[in-house]
Amino acid sequence: MDTTIRELSYAQAIQEAMAIAMERDERVFLMGEDIGVYGGAFQVTGDLVHRFGEDRVMDTPISELGGAGVAVGAAVTGMRPIFEFQFSDFAALAMEQIVNQAAKMRYMLGGAVSVPLVMRFPAGSGTGAAAQHSQSIEAWLGHVPGLKVVQPATPHDAKGLLLAALEDPDPVMIFEHKLLYKMKGPVPEGYYTTPIGKAEIRREGKDVTIVATAIMVHKALEAAETLASEGIDAEVIDLRTIRPMDRETVIASVKKTSRLICVYEGVKTLGVGAEVSAMIAESDAFDFLDAPIIRLGGAETPIPYNPELEKAAVPQVPDILKSARDLVNGVR
């Protein structure tokens, strides 16, 4: 391919993806609170309203349920809406449309309709926004058959997964970690997609597999570098999609390393790591495990406002280091 690769921020990469999509396909349009002249709570839509007009970059009232209902209806009737929540936490207000309508229609109408809906959820903690604006609720939606749920960890994947989501005939939920919006990384120009349902090995290693999502991928990679200096060779897998999950990549990795750590920001119990762990325990990788599986997930608490407590409520690099050392050194 004849494309140039530049450094873009994660937010710029998403904006570019939406612009490309709108240029390519007139059915694509954006909906969300303050995404028009304000440019979005996290400035992801930016000046798109000036390029594409208010008919395609639509500010919605402060009613997530109403907005989501419009988006589902538009998708069912042939449009390609991209609906932005200001904070992923507010998905709670729109659950009826997401879970009972978008996820069910294809099934309940015998395949007569599909819901090609894309929803974007600024997610996660670390911004001092406290308990109602800092959650990681991807596992809620990952529990719903009929939805696809992705968590891009890099600018490249943020663009590629958004374009892949638009190609998908079914509703795709994109969780974007707020702390990643400013992260820069190489992004090819033009149109490309990143496959949904395919994990990416970010670092190859032989001693321990670290399966991570979203911002935890970067924490895992940082930990892996430290571990390498100690002679522990960690493999870091960016899960990228939590539903449908890429079992093959994780199973193959665990078979190679015999040890597994899952790192995710969502609440530990009943979370993404629980699914990865159980999936491995059920798979033929079980016979290759040489140590217990470790889950590093969010604390069993609402995200605190106090910055130090906020940090302590989600896995950090030292937690990953300790777990990997314990596993490899036979302490756990």
Partner: protein
């Protein structure tokens, strides 16, 4: 708390052992490490040492009794510790009278008593399903009803290798068996690798030899190393570990050892001839020859024959200077099949047994699992050390040598007595290291290396 004396597992597939002899009796003061009793299995006799110091009490298995592995056969009470009857082992419900709960409750007891409170020695073999009560012993020996902790991977590897988890000691948390533990056991119990098939089977073929070091100065006179009985060329590696040497170093596997032929030549001359052929195959010019123990006798013979250009000779704990040799060691060493039965013999080699590293023990064990190798070494014992006697004499050879010779011994050698150096020709230098056993190259590594290097430099 009193320390339990249990019947140890000395063999992989051993389930019971017969106590053939007690060396201490009830009430005796014993010290840790002291010989307590001897057991017999169908394969071996094994001595068991006291696990602690104190007073031996409550011997529950008389001489001749067959006892399940892991069962307590006696207790040792520490000095000053009040003696309370421990009750005999709990493995014999039908052989013991009804429990006497009232009595048990009235007497405070250091250990929970089993259903049978009797503590008279029972000569009848108790039925199976033993359980040791001491926590440490329980962890170590694992009663039959306690499944070993093992990771899924360890279990799979053990099944594949035909190993019983119960025979593997786990290094993980709570004694969990991991891949590392199984692999260590595979290394121990599997026969030598495929090299075996390529072994030279005729006496004419050169012996297996490896350049351990290329040497910093390739023009320096090479060192040729000949290991002792039961070892192989790898046994020299620790001597040079992490050390830069000027001389290239070639180590040879003797017949019946390492990867050399399993055919044992009839006499030292024939062994020497094989080594000579090996050296010329490696195009060795003038060299410094170093031999340990049996290898020392081979080295002296080579030097005496004069076919190879040995310019100096270092003999470490050499054989061939006198008739005595530790016969029990030779037989025990060759017969040992498990770490438990091998370790006591390996400990005889050195004064400080902390020098017996795990790799060393594992390597030795791996050899003991090789039937062909063991058979060959038995032939050596039967011919060269027949009836516990060194049947060869290198003194005449040494007397006629006109090259520098150094003889190195450990004063505490329990295999070949250091006293054998007496009466050597005056021009032969002898070095006797105090508090050193049969392995000066391991126990006095720096000094031995220095002696060898001095010899090499003086000769060059």
């Amino acid at each position: 708390m009193p320390v339990e004396v249990i019947l140890p597992k000395v063999d992989m597939d051993m389930e019971t052992g017969r106590i053939s002899r007690w060396y201490a009796k009830d009430g005796d003061a014993v010290t840790k490490g002291q010989l307590l009793f001897e057991i017999e299995t169908d394969k071996a006799a094994m001595e068991v040492d006291a696990p602690a110091s104190g007073t031996l009490r409550d011997i529950s298995a008389a001489e001749g009794a067959t006892v399940p592995v892991g069962q307590a056969v006696a207790w040792i009470f520490a000095d000053g510790e009040e003696y309370t009857p421990t009750g005999k082992s709990d493995a014999t419900p039908e052989a013991t009278p009804k429990a006497a709960p009232a009595e048990m409750e009235s007497a405070p007891h250091p250990y929970p008593l089993p259903a049978g409170g009797e503590r008279e020695a029972s000569a009848s073999p108790p039925p199976s399903s033993p359980r040791s009560r001491g926590e440490d012993a329980g962890r170590q020996m694992r009663g039959n009803d306690e499944a070993p902790r093992a990771t899924p991977l360890a279990r799979r590897l053990a099944v594949k290798a035909g190993l019983q988890l119960a025979d593997i000691s786990g290094s993980g948390p709570k004694g969990r068996i991991t891949r590392r533990d199984v692999e260590a056991n595979i290394a121990v119990s599997s026969p030598m690798p495929a090299v075996k098939e390529s072994l030279a089977s005729t006496a004419d073929a050169p012996l297996h030899a490896v350049w351990l070091r290329q040497g910093n100065d390739p023009s320096a006179m090479p060192l040729v190393l000949i290991h002792g009985f039961g070892a192989d060329l790898n046994s020299w590696r620790p001597l040079f570990a992490g050390i830069q040497v000027d001389s290239p170093v070639l180590a040879v596997d003797l017949p019946g050892h390492g990867s050399s032929t399993r055919d044992i030549p009839e006499n030292l001359d024939a062994v020497a001839e094989q080594v000579e052929r090996t050296l010329s195959a490696h195009q060795i010019g003038p060299f410094v020859l170093v031999g340990h123990s049996f290898g020392g006798a081979v080295a002296a013979t080579i030097t005496d024959r004069g076919n190879a250009d040995a310019r100096a000779l270092a003999l470490i704990s050499t054989a061939g200077l006198g008739p005595e040799i530790n016969r029990a060691f030779l037989e025990g060493f060759v017969g040992a099949r498990s770490e438990a039965s091998l370790m006591p013999w390996l400990k005889q080699l050195v004064v400080d047994d902390s020098l017996l590293s795990k790799p060393f023990v594992n390597a030795t064990l791996a050899q003991s699992a090789d039937e062909g190798l063991r058979a060959a070494q038995k032939v050596i014992v039967d011919s060269y050390f027949a009836d516990g006697t060194q049947t060869f004499d290198i003194r005449p050879a040494l007397a006629s040598l006109r090259i520098p010779v150094r003889v190195i011994f450990g004063a505490g050698d329990r295999i070949i007595p250091a006293a054998h150096v007496a009466g050597l020709p005056g021009e032969i230098a002898t070095h006797i290291f105090a508090a050193t056993g049969h392995m000066p190259q391991l126990e006095r590594r720096e000094q031995v290396l220095r002696i060898i290097q001095e010899l090499a430099r003086a000769t060059a």
